[in-house]
Symmetry: D4
Subunit: 217 residues, 8 copies
């Protein structure tokens, strides 16, 4: 997750996924230096995740203009990988509070050159919202399901689709739901077969998992 | 939960629910003495919960014949309370592995003189199983929802019915679901409004909670 | 709990409880837009919960004037549902530090058109405070019990009243009580029969649970 | 807690409490050897705790006859310390399922030569049971309160007596109460001031703590 | 995970994976009845998981002869699904103690008609064991990685292969590793991108997740 | 712990300890009102705990002058209870980082009119610091031991003194010690007999527990 | 920890420590086969750990005679490594209940050809037991400290010796000490500098850590 | 860890490691006083750890000039101990986010007069980074391995080097990795033999543990 000065440039060749800079906890100076090296046109497409708006805003404007920055998902990239001809991914989320994770997944897919579509507000407390979009969702090749609280959406989806599903619990909620532990436990215990799970809030990882599937098509 | 030698006989007058004997952990001799006092025709309807089949089987036959014993739910009672004229309770469970809890709830209702019906195998991995029984379920005055693993059934139910719902997480499952902690956290975090929760495997408590509702009708 | 742009307007018809906007974690712009749509006279009574005073204060005054805002409970609504003719709910709390939760429950009841009364400072360290109000409390149709720390009030109440009880553990306290886990465990383990529990600090949910009971009278 | 071959015989002189043999987990041969050294008339009063009935039964009869053995509390001793002239301790427990801990405390007091009385079935679900014995309880010099589940008895007692209180949570219960963690957290969070707590099921330790008080009178 | 009397026979049509009987906790009589219905030649290929050897051995011989039973993985099936023409899955495990989980995955794949190969003893304490098999492993279409303790194998694999990876933590180990929580946390925190995780010991689920990938090729 | 508007003025008569105002989480206006009622000369000695310096500083000066305020312990009181003629308490702490808790205990004792002395820097990493003060410590009637991290001081003290000991774990430390859970578990597991424990950072409670002992002398 | 069929025979050359067979959870047949290969005189000194007495007793006598088996530590080996000329290790334990772990460490040292001595019953509840042996303990080159419950011995030792210390928490105890989590947390939080910790009950690992030190002398 | 006013000046003589000032949580005034006593040329080399840059910056300049301050590691010292003639320590870390811990270890070694070298960015997601530096790392006498997330580096290192290894889990990460609990559990469960572990983020302790080894050479 951390990708420092000694870059692993051979990663793309080995696993089909380039190095990424996880920005949280990195000193500002180090981030600026990294941003200065991988902007638009640098020929080295690098994704920056967990790059807070207030941090990005402090970078010199000359550097910022080389990036496509997205505040909700806290992601930035200059160039993207070339668009893939085949393989599409759906990102399905339970509520608008889960959007920051859904968009981290979506932005990672965009950066990887993979076509995607987001379906928000599909929480099971109003099943009709999922029902009327299910047919379209099932046309995608891999699904990312983002949900907090009881994460019941993952199990419902798992019983309604044959596609690979990657569940991402979110840290949304309070009390026993605080920090996402309830959602994580719920997803791992899903009564639907073959649902695979990522760490809490790890939209980036879910996109990479989906990319591994799409890359093999 | 523990109800010893110094019986709280005024409980029914105070709260509408008589004393109960929680048998787990009580010495055999104490249980036999208690069973000998409250059998059929004793005039003191008392419920015994968590009374294991192998324990009950060791009681003298003369004592056992005074009881209606149900092995799956591990419950026994001699007399029941008089049947109530109004108020019916539905017990909805996710899978057959949850039956021991669903039946503890059902047997407690029977003992309290409350009409009930059990709806099993309603887990959300196959939503049609719930869908085709929903209309009937909604004719009851209070609902007990029993589920383990991700307990997603509770949230789905909460979004489909206006009736009081008492969720009971079960200890069914392994890994993070072991002991019912995942189901409990999921139920408490339910995205559906107004779902109230009992301790893990506490079918008895859910029946008492439903009785408090029915008693007020 | 999260209720985004794709509103579930049919919820009231299905379950008797309208959609609610849980504000914590929602972007300010989204909140302002939602507030602008559901103010007094809009014909769409919507409850906003966890709406922090410093957030509400930043909304344009023209929008704020359309709302009945209550800082302690962090709730706002424009219109309320029509008053119900029958069914009253008592909100009983252990200490003044629990007031923010007790008032979230009370305000939700007000919004739902349900008559209520709050009984504060009933903690069991001074039992006489509860004793002298018990008779009045028992005239209500459903009880919400709000307590932190050891939450002993729930068990004491459970042994003194036949009414439906919904316990809400609060996050008040430090050390092992921090965040409300001790209170939650204590309530779920209550030695009194038929006490049903909500997530920590979930006064809103308790009011909805009580509403499900009152709606059935 | 563990008291091996290298006995700490000077302990009584230092702290007023002699060495004790905690039997759980000790090899049978070691226990038999220890039992053979400290029986009735040996002049070395030693307490054996957590000595299971099935283990004690296997010791040679010649050894067993030198001991006063009590199966429920799993304690044994030959001689006791000389009776103390002043200082009496009350052991108050919530339910009969807590008896094994209450009796471990009581037996330790007996062994230490301290006068005691046990008050069982004082659980708060039926407050009258405690109320009618409170006056007598308050005549003792130190109180041991034994309770499982929500352990609400500790807080109620703490608000009704000026005497030193040592709370002992018990491992009685299931679900979130399993193993006594809920009772421990509840006692540590007690809303009553000055209640001090022991490890789960540690009746022996509570008796030692009470002895430290009584020894100073 | 639980699959009771009300079978979800339409599941294969919906999601490409048939119903399964999770045997742990089901009464013996129910298991025998289910086994009697789905044996070899019944035309209904059903997988039984967590079917303990001592339980299966008690079933009537006439029923047992209709099944391919595998004790280490505790799985049984009569017929299998038709063999798939494309898509192969590698099951890689860290040590022989993890075999029971690796084989549950392998047997599920066999039942689903998917070609697989097991690579055991690839733990990272001796990296050469993995190194000399890596090229072959990379010829498969999806990888299942089974590991307990620190589960470091998952991260090492994630950095060496572009294929979809489904990690299964096992309950192997003691102390902080007991029950698999350490392995689960380690896998979810993997420093390699795009590794998706199943519940502890859930080899069955990993096989279903891999099948979702292979079914889409 | 919370003591609101409905004061429990009869508490002193019942348990020998007056009501206390726990300030954390109380609204500023409520605190000011309470402070205005119980200052020096009011005739109602009330202790304020967890009253942060920045909060107290905002109270009107006319109110502040009526109080003896101590910033490190965050305590304030106007009048104290009359000095007790007998009974002295020692407060022993492991390191200077534990001082805020040691002083909360000391200030509570001062308020209760009980003589005390603080012994700081007695941590066991340098045993000589405790050794040379042990004889004096043993002249006190009750001991409060305050320690964080491994809390080893409690066990060492328990083996060296016959006096009642009340251990207070502190929230000092990081990693597994963060928040005081390690110190709490260590104290509850003490290998020395008869050591009784308070909630994390609860110096106030330890002083009340010691007062219960001293009040009985 | 697991060492299967694909032996890592080059381990000794790489790290100075040979492969070991962790027996817990391995099938009996596999253990017998392994035992048959590495007995006395086989030329391949291999250590078997966690080999239960009842399991070893079932192996054929011809195989058992090739082994030095030690029931308390549950270890077996045929040949040992050649004795080392320099470097001695002390194993210090708190109580006799910790012996099974202390002896696992000692036996591993014996197998590795390293001189050692065990010092038992050094628990801090009676400090004189450690004090009178400290001078001798300090003549060793590395120390293994084995303790359960509060594990206070580790911190006391850490403040009294300059030698490398490897702490091993044991699973001895009940309540919060159950399973060794309290001892582990206490050791990791030690107030003495430079104390390094192993997993709960991992005497084998501590011996290997000490061997790494001794091997470098 | 806390080292107050009553300095343990004899510590160096006893254990070869001088007292240290752990600054977190200490009042500013106390820190300034301590800094004023132990600056460059004071003749008392003292290490200050966890001294935040914003705190140090507020100390008077006259005091600051007497110190070598290092912001990333938050350490300061005036004089150092005399350089040791023998014994070198390698500090190996997984990613740049772990640098603050790696540097706390390195700075402590510098202060203790021990030669060291840092090897950063050795995470196992790109094994070649470790492989090409392994030979040099193996020339050191003791190794400190610093890693967060899954901490897989510890196990890989443990299988590749015969040297003493001290693992330090870091608090880097989110979700289940938050606070370092996952890394700690992973390290303690390491499948490589003889790896000893420190508390989360405890670089200082790892340096002391390595110093205990080097001091004995």
């Amino acid at each position: 997750m951390d990708h420092g000065i000694l870059f692993d440039h051979s990663r793309t060749a080995r696993i089909g996924l380039p190095e990424t800079v996880f920005c949280e906890g990195k000193p500002f100076a180090a981030l600026v230096e990294l941003l200065s090296r991988f902007g638009n046109g640098s020929g080295h497409p690098i994704l920056f995740t967990r790059l807070a708006p207030e941090v990005f805003a402090q970078a010199p404007e000359a550097i910022r203009t080389g990036y496509d920055y997205h505040p909700l998902s806290r992601t930035a990239f200059g160039d993207t990988l070339p668009p893939k001809a085949t393989g599409r991914v759906a990102v399905v989320s339970a509520g608008t509070a889960d959007s920051f994770v859904a968009w981290e997944a979506a932005r990672t897919l965009a950066y990887l050159g993979i076509e995607y579509k987001i379906f928000e507000d599909c929480g099971v407390a109003g099943l009709w919202r999922l029902a009327e979009r299910l047919e379209e969702i099932n046309t995608f090749d891999a699904l990312i399901v983002v949900a907090g609280l009881d994460a019941a959406l993952t199990s419902v989806m798992g019983g309604l689709t044959p596609k690979p599903i990657f569940g991402v619990p979110t840290s949304v909620g309070y009390g026993v739901a605080h920090g996402g532990k309830a959602a994580l436990a719920s997803m791992l215990s899903s009564c639907a077969p073959g649902v695979a799970i990522m760490n809490i809030d790890n939209g980036y990882g879910a996109a990479c998992a989906a990319a591994r599937v799409v890359n093999g098509l």
